[in-house]
Symmetry: C2
Subunit: 471 residues, 2 copies
Amino acid sequence: MSVELNDADESFITGLRDILPAAAFLEASDTFLTEPRGRYKGKGVVVAPDTTEQVAALVKACYDARVGIVPHGGGTGLVGAQVLTEGRIPVILSLSRMTKVREIYPEEGVMIADAGAVLADLQQAARDAGKMFALSLGSEGTARIGGLLSTNAGGLNVLRYGTARAQCLGLEVVTPEGEIWHGLTRLHKDNTGYDLRDIFIGAEGTLGVITGAALKLATIPAVEATALLAVESPAAALSLLSLSRDIVGEGVSGFELMSRVGFEFLMETGLLQASPLQPLPDWQVLLRIGLPAGADVEAVLEHIFTAASERGLVYDGLIATTLAEAERLWTIRETIPEGNRLIGSVASHDISLPLSRIPDFIPEAARRIHDVAPLRINCFGHLGDGNLHYNAFPRAGENRAIYEGIRSQISRIVHDLAVEMGGSFSAEHGVGRLKVGDVERYSDPVRLNMMRRIKAVLDPNGIMNPGAMLR
Amino acid sequence: MSVELNDADESFITGLRDILPAAAFLEASDTFLTEPRGRYKGKGVVVAPDTTEQVAALVKACYDARVGIVPHGGGTGLVGAQVLTEGRIPVILSLSRMTKVREIYPEEGVMIADAGAVLADLQQAARDAGKMFALSLGSEGTARIGGLLSTNAGGLNVLRYGTARAQCLGLEVVTPEGEIWHGLTRLHKDNTGYDLRDIFIGAEGTLGVITGAALKLATIPAVEATALLAVESPAAALSLLSLSRDIVGEGVSGFELMSRVGFEFLMETGLLQASPLQPLPDWQVLLRIGLPAGADVEAVLEHIFTAASERGLVYDGLIATTLAEAERLWTIRETIPEGNRLIGSVASHDISLPLSRIPDFIPEAARRIHDVAPLRINCFGHLGDGNLHYNAFPRAGENRAIYEGIRSQISRIVHDLAVEMGGSFSAEHGVGRLKVGDVERYSDPVRLNMMRRIKAVLDPNGIMNPGAMLR
């Protein structure tokens, strides 16, 4: 059933020059051909339209000529969805020239933006309007909203505000046949048919090209406070989460678990001088509370700290008393991936679990890995979302290259155990090209069959991001 | 391309008796053949399996024999999705014998239930576990969760907690070919493929049968307070909403607009003795705030009241000082539909609008209706969601029958204007059979084409709820 694709060759590109402005043709620089982990090197001809109509014309041309398209946002994805390494030469459709905030309605809590708008710019536009765009993650200075939606990105604010999916009211999409779906609704409720928005969100560019998005804006919490707390164990961290929520409900806006190893890496690589808590705890939680005006947020945090100490959940900690101190603590958390990068992981994982299975998962996964190799485990992440980054590293002084041969075995161990426990092998990073095999291995077969049918019927020529998500 | 269906005739039913227990065959009573507004009278053979495997066997038999299936939950839908009136005799697949809460995880905030569980029972199960299941609406004593999800029901708590979609983590679904998708995940994050969950939510039983759901449980707000406030206009009500959110953010958990006419109907029909506010205001807002422990919720409400009065947004009001008083106020709001029913509407509408268009919509729609007939308008609803129930009634002493000839003209006026202003002709009630023509008239054609393709590829024999949502 699958259709043969053709190369985006000279004659095809010459044809494109008739329908697109010269400025749309960009050099195929490393920006477009590499990805952050350096695992893949892509290929393709870079075309960057500056209107939705140009995107539609480009996609229509690719559809007619059966040329593959790799949509490209900020290029920050971690699973290779943005780089095609094999097969026919594709068009790399960059949204980098579509970056406008089109409209903003602060009183409605809605902002409409081009898919190429950078997340940090959207956050700033919201702040300028007295509101907050709640999506936030490490790559926010580079990642673009179309890619973030296509990945259904998570990040630091999911616990309170949800993933990218929950921040989106409507989409403008160019279909794989080059038509435009005008779905940029500002409505909070609209039950008039199948929910196509959510099919495109998280589809990683395999069903069409997101060109615009209507985004939800939230109220800026009037007062916020952050605490760094030492907990005995992941189980104690979960009890602390439950206790915090009983006290302040949705007011818990951040709840990150960090392991001793993560801090050791930061100090080993010079990214952190000293642990704020001494001696360095095995497990720490970074907790943020945001409350409405009038609330005494530090008193609430003290109350949580006291109640948690009385229950034996927390044995040390500090409350940031200034904004600068809070930012310093959050910077530590956000620097952990850079520490990991400098150490060099053998295998990285982005798993999720039912919350109550996490305390069993962490030691059991370590046990199974240590049966294979004496790796160091840095387990950290968005505990409140059940999402752990569970990464394996060589011992101090070793180079990760010596473990190259067991990389896939380690990942298999971690993913098998996560799925055994009702979890997922990809919580927020997506599938891309890295985890296509995992989709085939772990997906419910009935679900996989429905996915394949939807792909086939919405992208009949199979031109959209070939090889990503589904083979 | 469309396949001819067959009747669920004697010989087909005889075959079913071999694969299903005798108890599954129920009498086709009015419960299954009528709907709340009395506009449709359905037909069919009622079969009520009591396990997911039985549902799968039943659907497989229908698929093989090309017999239509109308899934039936609590039968409370308002657009006729639950009754098939023409064409071949279908199986009415009742979920009324699958009503269990399967599992509950209070510390994870997750509950897994059969699709036939009644909403009020789920709310109670959550409360018994110290949590809250936030979906709440007038029909909660009868409506079943499978139907509520298939409709993506809204109700009174959408502003804070979202629609049914936002309360659901995962689904178990029997596909139109009789296979089971085991998608009952407890995960809050899982980016491993297309979001099929959200395609089934709101599909009104046209893509498969929801047999089970994993539902989110929320923290019960520690303290709540309700105020009834007289506002000058819908515009003032919107400013009051914005002000309230600036002060307490997500703490605003209910924000209902009610018109003078709604209260007049309640008094005319004897459902209400007297207006709590005297003289009866043209427009009133029912506002509920829910806050974490320790917050002085009445003081916060007083603060909102004072600030709104200073800005000229509110000119009268009362704060409920007891739980009983608050419940009395909410009962008035929840009784408005019964008042409408007793008066007898000429045409009812469930529209949504971008929030800032509402103040223009209300008088303009009335003007256009009054060009046609001197009807009374009762406009009320979930203002915070942009969702209005905009219903037209005969003048006092008149019977609605005299306006039967202009019913569709009135609906056309209301829906045309809503869509002109960027709104929707169905905010929370769905499409069913009542609004299939509206879907064809108002939908973006590219979207409609994608919907039809998805329907065709997931339900190749066209047996699922024939004639609902799409013709």
